[in-house]
Amino acid sequence: MKHLERGVGLASAPRDFLRDLNADNLSAGVVAGIFGLSAGIIHISAGTAAGLPKDFTLLWVISYLFINGLFGLLLPAYYRLPLPMANSIPGALLFAAIIPVVGLNEALGATLMAGAISVVVALAGWMSLVMRLIPMPIVMGMVAGVLLKFGTNMVMPLQSALLPAMVMILAFFFSARFLRRVPPLVVTLAVGVIYMAFSGADFSSVEFSFRMPEFIAPAFSMDAFLAYGLPLALILVGMETPAGVGLVKGMGFKEVPANAITFVGGIGTMVSAFFNLHSTCIAAPMTGICSSPEAGTHDKRWVAAVIVGIIFVIAAPFYGFVFSLIEAMPNYFIAIIAGLALLRVISSAMHITFSGKHEVGAMFSFLIAVSGLKIFGIGASFWALILGALISMLVEFQDFDFSLEREALRKRFSAKKVG
């Protein structure tokens, strides 16, 4: 357990939560929460595309919100850092694709093993090694590439829905410039909702339902592990944690508990495996929103992440209702809000990617992540990291931080000799 970082603790968390709550972190938390709720659409479309029953997909999303939200309540509260939890989107696509091939129970068994691998990596303290092998500009290049799609989604509605898109984007610019006290996203959200109300959005398809996560027993098979469990473990350890940690560090937080995030994610993934869910990990886009300047001063941004957890847990049983509500809003509404929310995240991710070492590797990582390249069924974000790091080693090896590592190894080695 010695590698797990120590946090502030949970005892005083409720009191501190009320003390630190303010308009900035509340609005960032609400926006990130809405963003997370809307991510369920990805699960639903992936499930539908893979031909999975609607009932299963709904349970999947309910578990996602409930279990991820529960862990997302505890982790930021314990560390007082903006570390919202969700699940891996690339993992979700893999999961949906593998179920028809190996069966649901076997897929969940592989999920259990992927979680166990994360726990082992975290307990062994290998996170810092993984992160040194894949340096920050390359990780951020991948993050920027993945997020860029949200950015282009924000621009695309200009083609078909010029007026609402323009109104919302202008509202964001104007309030960013002239209303210093009110977070621009809240203004944009309000303006957007008012516009929708006036343009007569149709809410008749909204229906109420209540369901809790249900237990499903995992089963084990080698096929499922190789095709899905191992890639999932790589995605969780090699990508989701570094992406989240990278974002938080990029926003100016110095001490980020990389091992603990992996550990909690691993435990969460193991729990998920019993409830029809494929993973629990730090949530990159939501981390971006919760840790950004939109969420107020640094020491109070953790509140935003806790709010995300609260929203998830409360919304989970009612997701059937929430989903029909989201469906009632036009698609571009969520896209524009998410795009604007992520604008500063994309900006700072690109800033970190392209203003230092590893320029070639970072560029390739960025391009690969955008291209949506898929090899062996594993998605672009994974290859962006691996190929970016390999290319960087080939072309710009001098940029790697191995001199320090070698120093540390030598010290440890000589200490052992003495002992």
């Binding site: 410039r177 900006s347 990617t353 291209s371």
Partner: protein, 398 residues
Amino acid sequence: MFKDWSISAITAGFVAVLVSYSGPLMIFFQAAQSADVSNAMITSWVWAISLGAAVSGILLSLWLKVPVVTAWSAPGTALLVTLFPDLSLGEAVGAYLVAAAAIFVIGVTGSFDRIIRLVPPGIASAMMAGILFQFGVGVFVSLESVPALSIGMILAYLVFKRLSPRYSLVVLLVVGVILAVMLEGASLKGVTLSLADPQFIAPEWSWHAILSLAIPLVLVSMTGQFLPGMAIMRSAGYNTPAKPVVTVTSLISFATAFFGGITTVIAAITAAICTSKEAHEDPDKRYVAGVANGIFYLIGGTFAGTIVTLFTSLPGEFVAVLAGLALIGAITSNIHAFASQKDHLEASVITFIATASGMSFLGLGSAFWGVIVGALAYNLLHRRFTGRKSTQVSDSAR
């Protein structure tokens, strides 16, 4: 001229032409593919741009006694890829003529430097990066359909970039052709020496073409070619004025436009090869490299048909990968230029996103909207009004 002759200068001129034909020309081929025109028409285009580069390069190098390397506007050809086939050939030629006229006015009045200062630097490089970005992504899209060829070419690019950066594109071209023949079964049997037969295209006028092609073409040619091109000349120690270069190239562009030649400009990617020490020890004798460069363009233009059949007999992915790898350096430096600064970063990122999204609205391309949205964001978010400091954004971005 004859007393200043040297092998190194002629080699430099040759390499510059070879690099141009192996890299930037690929974008023009992609534009031709999206316009779905005949080989004879592509040949005429290649003839026109080569001739434009040849005549202007030879004239300017001999006149100014400095190595002026000219070429066609590479970011301009990148613009074409997204605009075709909605844009007709006649409309494109009309837009080329408008652009040439605009650049001529800018050159004659000497307002080049003033216009450059008007566009915020981040917005200009963000638009450039956005236009070129899709070519970089294209490398990895091709990787899925032809993995062996693409991976081989990427590896060759990386290895030779490390070993000899200057010749890496040329080596990449050779390796790529060999790989394409071996792995993809491309046949080079049809490649024979043939003279180009220029085809006249009657210009057509439309607002759509002027707004979405001519204006961005002038902008990217100014910021993406003339600005870095002149900077390369200056850094090599040549105090060449911009006026004659801009004026002569715009006049040549006017003539070549009728045969499908896009705007002739000062070279940015290849200029450094001819202005550097490798061309000749004595800076006063490097102008021979500029002249040689022109002569090799003349030869290339004459046999444009051969060049076209060579590249059209290779798989489309080959062209995509080659173009993407040739542009990665330019994409990186442009993204670096706007992303490494905190100053008006968000407006630049919006410009980049809007341009790279490839959206089109009211028939106008994404490069145009990128600049519009970016300028709007720049003025609303970052611009300092009289005496007042730009407040929240620049503060909270830190």
